[in-house]
Symmetry: C3
Subunit: 342 residues, 3 copies
């Protein structure tokens, strides 16, 4: 498995799991049921009944208890069997329970050893805090390994080609690029000078349409694949104004070796009022177009071309823009090996 387990993954947008609704989702190849307990606290349990392997997604959630559709066993949010229509609930039949934290508009799940599930390890996505930001949320399922997604975002040189008419411009390759590691965090920063952005992108970034701008696009990666892009633009030649920077979120969570949940978002301050909310919704719709119609076909074709091999076991070419992605993958591989060695 090309996964690390002792890490926080985003299992869902918090808004996907409402009061009395359960959400079935496969993460790292495991069926999981996301739900909320009586107090609205998010929880996650294994999604397969230990009795006869029925998927609990076929059952129902009632008063915080998941009832199996086959023989009626009921399990609470801790995984304990609390209901057996034919006798005492068997203590030996438990669902695995996973640590879950709700933060930054998302439900974070810990797939590894529960005693290491420290919420302080969740990377900072404060700009997704719904108390202070309007968060436009998107989701898609990619038939590609998450490492391909990490490389896609850490090397945004591709926006000039793959996103020529949406997010890119002909000036990207003339810009400046640097990457750096800060602790376990990787940054991949790109400055583009004097580019004319597409009208849609200029409007989104609050710069005049059709005029040259200087754009900065700074990407941050935290293991396993929780990424942020901080991007902004100013009229060409003006100094950077970080106040005009818009953060986007890119959470990648493996569904299986060959498929990945992609949670993406764009955030605007609540201080902007209703205009900010409208902007968040409009901009996330705009982003969905290149993500689904440009990135997705490319990533899925890469995955097919891997022919079942992992990226780690494949002989890749090398361009300077690959450095950040390669470093991130090496950090992942070191942790995979450490987990496998234990």
């Amino acid at each position: 498995m090309s996964f690390i387990r002792n890490a926080w993954y985003v299992a869902a947008w918090a808004s996907e799991v409402e009061g009395s609704k359960m959400l079935p989702r496969t993460i790292l190849g495991e069926q999981i049921i996301l739900m909320r307990d009586g107090e609205g606290l998010a929880a996650a349990v294994s999604g397969v009944c230990p009795h006869r392997f029925a998927s609990l997604s076929m059952g129902r959630l009632e008063n915080g208890v998941v009832h199996c559709a086959y023989h009626g066993l009921g399990f609470d949010h801790t995984g304990a069997c609390v209901h057996n229509p034919f006798g005492a609930p068997p203590k030996t039949m438990r669902l695995k329970a996973y640590p879950v934290v709700e933060r930054y508009s998302a439900l974070w799940i810990w797939m590894g050893e529960a005693d290491q599930a420290d919420p302080a390890l969740i990377p900072d996505f404060a700009f997704n805090d719904p108390a202070h930001h309007w968060v436009g949320e998107g989701y898609l399922l990619a038939k590609a390994n998450y490492e391909l997604e990490v490389e896609n975002i850490l090397d945004l040189s591709h926006i000039q080609f793959l996103h020529a008419s949406t997010l890119g411009s002909s000036e990207v390759s003339n810009g400046r690029y640097e990457w750096k590691q800060e602790g376990e965090q990787i940054w991949s920063n790109r400055d583009v000078y004097g580019e004319i952005m597409t009208p849609q992108l200029a409007t989104a970034m609050g710069v005049p349409v059709g005029q040259p701008v200087d754009r900065w696009i700074y990407v941050r990666w935290d293991a396993p694949a929780n990424m942020a892009i901080f991007a902004g633009a100013v009229p060409a030649g003006q100094p950077q104004d970080r106040q005009r920077e818009t953060p986007t979120t890119h959470f990648f969570t493996p569904e299986t070796e060959g498929t990945t949940h992609y949670f993406y978002a764009i955030s605007f301050p609540r201080a902007m009022g209703p205009a900010g909310e409208a902007m968040a919704q409009e901009q996330v719709r705009f982003l969905s177009i290149p993500f689904e119609s440009e990135d997705l076909p490319m990533l899925e074709q890469q995955q097919r071309n891997l022919q079942g091999k992992s990226l780690r076991d494949s002989k890749l070419g090398w361009l300077p823009g690959d450095a950040a992605g390669a470093r991130a993958r090496n950090l992942l591989y070191a942790r995979m090996d450490a987990e496998a060695a234990r």
Copy 2:
């Protein structure tokens, strides 16, 4: 392979194989052609031409001879090559012939050593004898291993949950349950007291709609997976009246490791006249609803959750209601091991 070979399997309803028609069907992973010889006796031969692996299902049956569509070789119901357009029929090219017996409205096939194919080993389904009963016949193909089907029928506690609005009621779990072994036969018997059945079920069972009844549901299993359910109901508190018992038939025949032919039927005495015939047709249509829309999705999801493993190699949970199914499977496993050891 999780199959026993020295056993009688139902290959088809007898009515599926008419005079001049051949029926191709895969059983235990083998392509088979079912046909009748000149006197109408049912026969079964391998469905793949030994010459160049053409499926004989693409050819035609003419005067009891199956002609391959590719190069015209003809084989009779014994599997012998009896026609070669280009010379003498080659004696070395034969189809495998399988012992077949027509009994109880079905064609029974023996997949193992022919000299052990004793028709006396066919279990008793006299209530399917078309001379004395109207038999409403149904068929479906399940993408699930036959052992899951055996467990499904031997543990009918699930009718309270999976069939809540069709075959079950809330009182099933309050009933009485016992199982027993009689020789190689397993019985799994359930009595339910004071239940209010769905109107459709009450009508089918000939008891007043909306009034509490006592129902008995007795299940019989014979290896590998030929099962009968004897069920009846009387107004609550009255003694059982076995005259009012209706038998249903559940023949499961593996198509492959992961798919199963399901032949089901319900029988009424010919003595009932035309009303009995109408009842048989109407009731089998009613049964098809829970079988196809409730059991099938559950069984097929279980199969997917096995992820390619056999039930035998999986760690299952245990409820008292599983005893009969577990015993049946153990009998199967012992015979599998014995066959493998030879």
Copy 3:
């Protein structure tokens, strides 16, 4: 792999690769881009970018350079990286280039060692030379191994059965058959006497409809699977008139172990003028019917019945008509073994 590599395969009809268009096609399991250089010379390079495994089919061909859609690398028809938007083209990233020859209306590709790619090894299909013949071209993709195709064409006894109402007649099995080997070439020749051909076939062959004819059908095979059929007919009893012979072409090129590109054609002399051109188009349309609706389902079913095994590893039956096919396959196997031994 059941392929020989040091051989000429037909990659495409020449007409499929026009001036500024590139054609992606998988051959022997490898993605390939077919294109033409600045002077219109056909070329073939690997279809997967060595940088991040993007399929170059998603990119674009511009001025003889294939540009990857992902990060903009450009490769010329020799496979050299000639464009890198972010710096000097990396010499270490090359596409594999394959020798290609345009001849007989087709593009021939050499999948093995380039220094052995002698154009003199291309078998003679002069009747497909567009300078002197009208060539009606057809193509289909069969989900069957190419060896099944070779056997299909080398044993045309099947036209009596599989093509009973199109290409065959009841007299085929009464004809004369012989096969011979001439060097590395196999011939499989069939003469049929006094047959009444279907009206469409009689018209195509220029003999009276409804009257008995003598037909000759001579098949030629060159490794790996480049085949020609020379067929003609005269009123029964008259001597063969080779002037009235029409050649058809059958090029089989493995796409994968289980799928095959089938390029077929029928040729008429340019001397016939426009009538010849019309004839070529009409006849190739006629041929497409039995090839697609009669041969294809049979071949694909054979492939499924092989259940992942190769024909070489399967125990086949034997009829005298199989001799030519068996000889051809043995020649292939000997070359496979020789290639594997090196």
